[in-house]
Symmetry: C2
Subunit: 113 residues, 2 copies
Amino acid sequence: MSQALWQFKAEIFQALGHPTRIAIVEALGKGEQSAGHLIEKLGLEQANASQHLSVLRAKQLVISRKEGNQVFYSLRDPVLIEVLEILKRYFYSHVSQTMSMLKEIRAEQVAKK
Amino acid sequence: MSQALWQFKAEIFQALGHPTRIAIVEALGKGEQSAGHLIEKLGLEQANASQHLSVLRAKQLVISRKEGNQVFYSLRDPVLIEVLEILKRYFYSHVSQTMSMLKEIRAEQVAKK
DNA sequence: TACGCATATTCTAAAGTTCGAATATACTGG
DNA sequence: CCAGTATATTCGAACTTTAGAATATGCGTA
């Protein structure tokens, strides 16, 4: 059984393993939003946003509801927000050690440009 | 700020986004273990295990301590176990909806062989 | 029906991840 | 110093993920 559970958990983490998808999930934590609204709020490319939403849908982290022209997304289970909150605390409780990591991340990003 | 925080969270989720690494973290939840012990317990290839441990180390989810010949690993913060526990509950509270997902995963794996 | 808007899908190239095999490092006991 | 054990790193091939461009679908309204 463990095997399946590991796989399941890994799939969820992987689905959350992209900054844009984190941003989407956090935005949805404040309530249901249309795809268009998310795109505007987060400044995303339409196609790209749609792809990320499709990942979240495939892993069933979000639910979509069609209303006329638009598609409204919401979190399937607010427990996700709980998890993100825990990580925020984790982040702050290790700030100093984390900072060097963030600096590295930024340095890499700059280096790429 | 959000940007960096999203990136940071995404990095952590990604580090957890592999079944083997989940298994390692869960094993470490029961206390410090040597690399060799983990390898044996989880039935991993030595090099593969070492690579996964290196990912966890890079994201600072685990701490390593050298003792003579061996390297002992432990979780940097037990909050990770808390997150995994939450996900276990999540898993069971959506079992029926999840089952079809797991079946698909297995079907894909079979299809690949 | 035809148009326009919102969203999804498909495609391609680039980048990143994974595995196992081979090799390297580093410590211990003889 | 040598051999043996424990762990890490490097390499290449297969696979996956990503972004953006182009295209498709689906709905509402004229």
